[in-house]
C-alpha cells in the first residue's frame, strides 16, 4: 500500500478524507519505474462530482491499457484542504501513487463548464505549476485541456500548453508516441509543442497570434509559424461500437453523484435544438450496437456491484433499439434488485409503460423539458415538440397514476416577448387542468407541478452563437413575469416556480464566448480567493465584477452586444464539423420561427456528413 501524501493528522481534520486516499475498487496499479509516461487526469471539481464523469473513466481505462502510460487521477481539493495545502505548501498529488502532480509528464484537465475555470487555476497553483504556459519549463508537465468547453478555449488559452479538440479516443496514441520519441531524442518543450500541432485535433495556443480591430472584435487569427495548421479539426470516433469502453469502472467509497453503472448508448443527437451545444458538437449521431450494450450491462454490473444502471445519451428515445434494450435490462436485472434509471426519455405510451415497471409511481415525478412556453418560441429554438404532444403525455401520465410533474424552461431566448414568458405559466396551468379533468374519485388529491427556469447562455458552434444576452436585472424581470403569471392563475396552488440566479448566467456568457483578453481577469478572480465558483456557497459575484473592472474589460462587449453575421469569432479556427454557413442558415430560420426537420427525417447539410458515418449514412449501406 502506498504512503499517503497527507498525514493522518490532516486526513482526520478534513471533511471526507476518502476524497484523497485513492485505493478505490478497480483502481489501476502500476510501477512508475516500468512506465514511460505519467499522465495525471483531472476533473476540476470536488471528488464526488469528478468521479461521476464518464469521459474520465473512458480515458483512464484507455490510457492505462497502454503498458508505457500510467494514467492517474486528481480532483479539486475542497476549500478546507485547500487552505491547509497552501499554508503548509503541500504540493497537489495524484490519487494512485500519491506523488506530486508537478512531477508528471502530462496534466490533462477536462473542462466541462465555465464556472470551474477558477478551479483550473487552483489545480495549477496547488500543483506548484506556473499559471501561464509561457512561464513553464522542461521541469513542468505539459498541461492539456479537453472537454466541451474547449470548443472555445480562448479565455483559457494562456494557461494551457495544448488543447485536444473533440473526442479523446482518436489522437492520444499519436500524442504519446510523439512524446516518447522526442523525449528519447532529447528534444525540448517548444519543439514538442510545435510537432504536436500537426496531430489532428491538437491546438497549441502559443503558436497562434490574434489581432483585434479597434472595436475589440477579432481582425485576424493566424499561426505564427510555417507548418502549423490554420484550422483544427475536431476529433470524432466513427466506429463507436469498436471503441474502448470501461467495463471495470472505478467505484468510489463515498457516494458519488453518479453512484451507478452508466451505459453510453449513443453519441450525438438528431434533433438540432438551436440552443444546444452538445447537439451540434457531437454530430453526427452514432448509435452503439445493442448486443454489445447488453454485454456491457452484464459485465459492468458484475464488476462494480452497483445496484443501479442508467442509460446515457442526449436523447435516449431516439435510440433505435431502445425498446429491446430496456426490456432486456428489466428482464435480466430487475429481480436482482437492480434499479433501472432512464433519463432523457420523451413521455409517451412506451416510456410510461417502462417507467411504471422501474419506478414507484406514487413517489416519482415525470420530467418534461419543453424549454419554451409558447409554440412560437419552441419553433424558434427548434424544439420539435407541440403543445398537443406535451398535454397528451401529461394526460397519459396522470391516467397512469403519476401526480408529480417537473417542467424545464429557458428564459432570455432570442426574440422572447412577454407573451412567451407568460406562456410558461399558462402551459403549466393547462397541464394542471388535464389533471383536474380526471373525476375526483379517481384521482389522489392535488397534482404537483414544478416549473424551473434557467437563463439561456449562447454557446459557440450553435445557431444561437450570434444571439445577444441581457443584463442581470433584465433576466430577473423575466423571471418575475413568469412568477406573476403563475400566481395569477386558477391552479396556482398546484404549481411551484423556481428560477436560477442571474449573476452566474452573465459570467457564463462572458466565459463561453470570451477571447484571450479574459485570461488576466480569471487569474485576478482566483487571486481574490475565487474557487468552487460553481457552488453557490462559495460563489462571490463581486470578485468577478472587480476583476473585470481592474483589467479594463467591458462585460457588455461579451454579453449584450449585437454580433454581425460576418464577425470573426474567437473559436472560428476550430472546424467542429457543422459549418458556419449551416449555423447562419439556422440562425435565420430561428428568426423566422421556421422549424428544421431532424437528421432522420431530412438531412440539412450541416457539414457532418464528411465524417462518413452515423445517422448521415443510416439508410445508405
Amino acid at each position: 500500500m502506498n504512503q499517503l501524501a497527507l498525514s493522518d493528522e490532516i486526513l482526520m481534520t478534513v471533511d471526507k478524507p476518502a476524497r484523497y486516499i485513492g485505493n478505490e475498487l478497480n483502481i489501476i496499479k502500476k510501477n512508475l519505474d516500468e512506465v514511460d509516461i505519467r499522465f495525471v487526469i483531472c476533473f476540476p471539481d470536488v471528488y464526488e462530482i469528478g468521479m461521476s464523469h464518464l469521459g474520465i473513466q473512458i480515458l483512464y481505462d484507455m490510457f492505462n491499457k497502454r503498458k508505457d502510460v500510467y494514467c492517474e487521477r486528481v480532483y479539486s481539493p475542497w476549500p478546507d484542504l485547500h487552505k491547509i495545502m497552501k499554508e503548509q505548501e503541500i504540493p497537489l498529488f495524484s490519487l494512485e501513487t500519491q506523488k506530486p502532480v508537478k512531477t508528471a509528464d502530462f496534466l490533462g484537465i477536462t473542462i466541462q463548464y465555465e464556472m470551474c475555470y477558477t478551479n483550473i487555476l487552483q489545480i495549477l497553483d496547488l500543483s506548484q505549476i506556473p499559471f501561464y504556459a509561457r512561464e513553464r519549463t522542461g521541469e513542468d508537465p505539459i498541461v492539456i485541456g479537453g472537454g466541451p468547453c474547449v470548443y472555445n478555449p480562448e479565455p483559457l488559452a494562456d494557461f494551457f500548453d495544448l488543447f485536444y479538440i473533440g473526442e479523446g479516443e482518436t489522437s492520444y496514441d499519436a500524442l504519446f508516441d510523439l512524446y516518447k520519441k522526442m523525449k528519447a531524442n532529447g528534444k525540448d518543450r517548444s519543439d514538442f509543442l510545435f510537432e504536436t500541432s500537426k496531430i489532428p485535433g491538437i491546438y497549441v495556443p502559443s503558436l497562434y497570434e490574434v489581432d483585434y480591430k479597434e472595436d475589440g472584435t477579432i481582425a485576424s487569427f493566424q499561426p505564427i509559424r510555417e507548418g502549423v495548421p490554420q484550422k483544427i479539426q475536431k476529433q470524432v470516433v466513427m466506429n463507436l461500437s469498436d471503441s474502448v469502453y470501461p467495463t471495470r469502472p472505478l467505484v468510489p467509497f463515498i457516494k458519488a453523484t453518479q453512484d451507478r453503472v452508466v451505459l453510453e448508448i449513443q453519441r450525438g443527437c438528431i434533433r438540432g435544438c438551436r440552443f444546444c451545444q452538445a447537439g451540434m458538437i457531437y454530430r453526427p449521431n452514432r448509435e452503439k450496437n445493442i448486443d454489445l450494450l447488453k454485454t456491457y450491462a452484464y459485465e459492468m454490473l458484475k464488476n462494480t456491484g452497483h445496484e443501479e444502471i442508467s442509460l446515457s445519451s442526449l436523447s435516449s428515445s431516439d435510440y433505435t433499439d431502445l425498446n429491446e434494450l430496456v426490456t432486456f435490462l428489466i428482464d435480466n436485472f430487475k429481480q436482482n434488485g437492480v434499479n433501472i434509471s432512464l433519463p432523457s426519455l420523451r413521455i409517451d405510451a412506451f416510456s410510461l409503460d417502462v417507467m411504471s415497471k422501474v419506478q414507484d409511481i406514487r413517489k416519482s415525478s415525470l420530467t418534461f423539458a419543453p424549454e419554451a412556453g409558447s409554440q412560437r418560441m419552441r419553433d424558434v429554438i427548434n424544439k420539435g415538440l407541440t403543445e398537443e404532444v406535451i398535454l397528451d403525455g401529461a394526460k397519459l401520465a396522470f391516467d397512469g397514476g403519476w401526480q408529480k410533474v417537473k417542467l424545464y424552461f429557458m428564459l432570455g431566448l432570442p426574440t422572447e416577448t412577454e407573451e412567451d414568458m407568460r406562456a410558461i405559466a399558462e402551459l403549466a396551468n393547462k397541464i394542471a387542468v388535464r389533471y383536474y379533468e380526471i373525476p375526483k374519485e379517481q384521482r389522489n388529491g392535488k397534482c404537483q407541478i414544478t416549473i424551473s427556469t434557467s437563463f439561456f447562455v449562447p454557446k459557440p458552434f450553435t445557431p444561437f452563437q450570434w444571439a445577444k444576452m441581457y443584463d442581470r436585472d433584465s433576466y430577473l424581470a423575466r423571471a418575475k413575469v413568469v412568477n406573476d403569471a403563475v400566481k395569477a392563475q386558477l391552479n396556482r396552488k398546484s404549481i411551484k416556480y423556481n428560477w436560477h440566479e442571474a449573476d452566474v448566467t452573465v459570467l457564463e456568457g462572458i466565459l463561453a464566448r470570451g477571447d484571450r483578453k479574459i485570461a488576466q481577469a480569471l487569474l485576478k478572480v482566483y487571486e481574490k480567493g475565487g474557487i468552487f465558483d460553481a457552488w453557490t456557497e462559495f460563489f462571490d459575484n463581486s470578485r468577478w465584477i472587480e476583476a473585470f473592472e481592474e483589467c479594463g474589460i467591458d462585460m457588455d462587449f461579451y454579453t449584450t452586444r449585437e454580433r454581425s453575421l460576418d464577425e470573426i469569432f474567437p473559436w472560428d479556427f476550430i472546424d467542429a464539423g457543422v459549418s458556419k454557413e449551416f449555423l447562419a442558415r439556422e440562425w435565420n430560420n430561428a428568426m423566422a420561427a421556421k422549424v428544421t426537420p431532424n437528421c432522420r427525417m431530412k438531412c440539412s447539410a450541416c457539414g457532418s456528413m464528411r465524417f462518413k458515418g452515423g445517422v448521415c449514412y443510416e439508410d445508405k449501406n
Binding site: 500500500m1 493528522e9 476518502a18 485505493n23 475498487l25 458484475k302 462494480t304 456491484g305 452497483h306
Partner: protein
C-alpha cells in the same frame, strides 16, 4: 439462513467511515455473487447489519456483519469469492452459519478490546515503568473512576471503572502499547480514547488523540458465565 462475516480493516481503509463501509459491502455481495436475501417492498434492500460501528481512523482485526442468504456455498468458497473482490485494506477472515434463531451481532455486542499505541514519530513523555506504576494507581487500586461527560442536556458524571473490563500496558519496539477491553454496545459504549483521556488527566497531562493509533482486536458478546465470547465463535463453518 443467517451468516456472520468477520473482516479486517487496515491501512488507508481506516479513513472510510462506517456508512461507506456498509455501502462497500452491499456492492461487494453482488460482485462476489453471494445469494443474499432482500427485504420486501418496492425498493428492496439487502438484509445486512453491522455489529459495532468503527470510528474513522481506527483499524481493526475484528469487524462483523450479519447477513441473511437464500443459499450459500461453503465457508471457504465464500471467503475466497469475497476476497477476490476486496480492495487492499479489507480482508474477510471468517464466514459462518448462525442458528436460525440467533440474535444479530448488533443486538448482542457487549465488549470490544483495543490496542492504542503512539504513531511513528510520536514520543511519550513517560517511561514504561512510570506508566505501569501510574496505571495501577489509576485503575487497579481504585473502586471507581469518575469522569464528567458532556451530553446534549449538559454534563453527566459517570463511573468508568465498571465499564473497563481490562486495562494493561505492554511494550512493543520499545514503546508502550495500551491494551483495553471496554464495554461496547448501544447502552454503555466506551471508546478507548475516553479511558486514555481520563488516564492522562490523572497523570496531569493531555491525551492528544492525533498522536495515537487505535486498533480494535475483537468484538465480544456476553456468555453465560459472566465472561465474553468472540462473535465469530457463535457460528458453524459451512462445509
Amino acid at each position: 439462513m443467517k451468516i456472520r462475516i468477520k473482516f479486517k480493516k487496515y491501512g488507508v481503509m481506516k479513513f472510510i467511515g462506517h456508512l461507506d463501509i456498509m455501502r462497500y459491502f452491499q456492492k461487494a455481495m453482488r460482485r462476489a455473487e453471494i445469494d443474499i436475501a432482500y427485504s420486501e417492498g418496492f425498493s428492496p434492500h439487502q438484509i445486512m447489519s453491522f455489529a459495532a460501528p468503527l470510528g474513522v481512523g481506527i483499524t481493526s482485526d475484528g469487524e462483523y456483519l450479519d447477513i441473511e442468504v437464500n443459499a450459500t456455498k461453503s465457508s471457504a468458497e465464500s471467503i475466497r469469492a469475497l476476497n477476490q473482490t476486496m480492495v487492499e485494506g479489507i480482508e474477510v477472515v471468517s464466514y459462518v452459519k448462525l442458528d436460525d434463531h440467533a440474535k444479530t451481532a448488533m443486538s448482542i455486542v457487549a465488549a470490544a478490546d483495543y490496542y492504542v499505541y503512539g504513531k511513528s514519530g510520536s514520543e511519550l513523555p513517560y517511561s514504561l515503568d512510570e506508566l505501569k506504576v501510574k496505571q495501577k494507581e489509576f485503575y487497579e487500586d481504585k473502586e471507581e473512576i469518575l469522569i464528567t461527560k458532556k451530553t446534549k442536556k449538559g454534563q453527566k458524571t459517570m463511573d468508568l471503572k465498571r465499564l473497563i473490563y481490562d486495562f494493561s500496558i505492554d511494550e512493543r519496539e520499545g514503546k508502550p502499547v495500551f491494551y483495553l477491553k471496554v464495554c461496547t454496545g448501544s447502552t454503555d459504549n466506551v471508546k478507548p480514547e475516553l479511558v486514555l483521556e481520563a488516564f492522562y488527566e490523572f497523570l496531569g497531562s493531555m491525551f492528544d488523540a492525533s498522536l495515537f493509533q487505535v486498533h480494535r482486536l475483537e468484538v465480544y458478546a456476553a456468555d453465560e458465565n459472566n465472561g465474553f465470547r468472540p462473535l465469530s465463535e457463535m457460528g458453524e463453518e459451512i462445509a
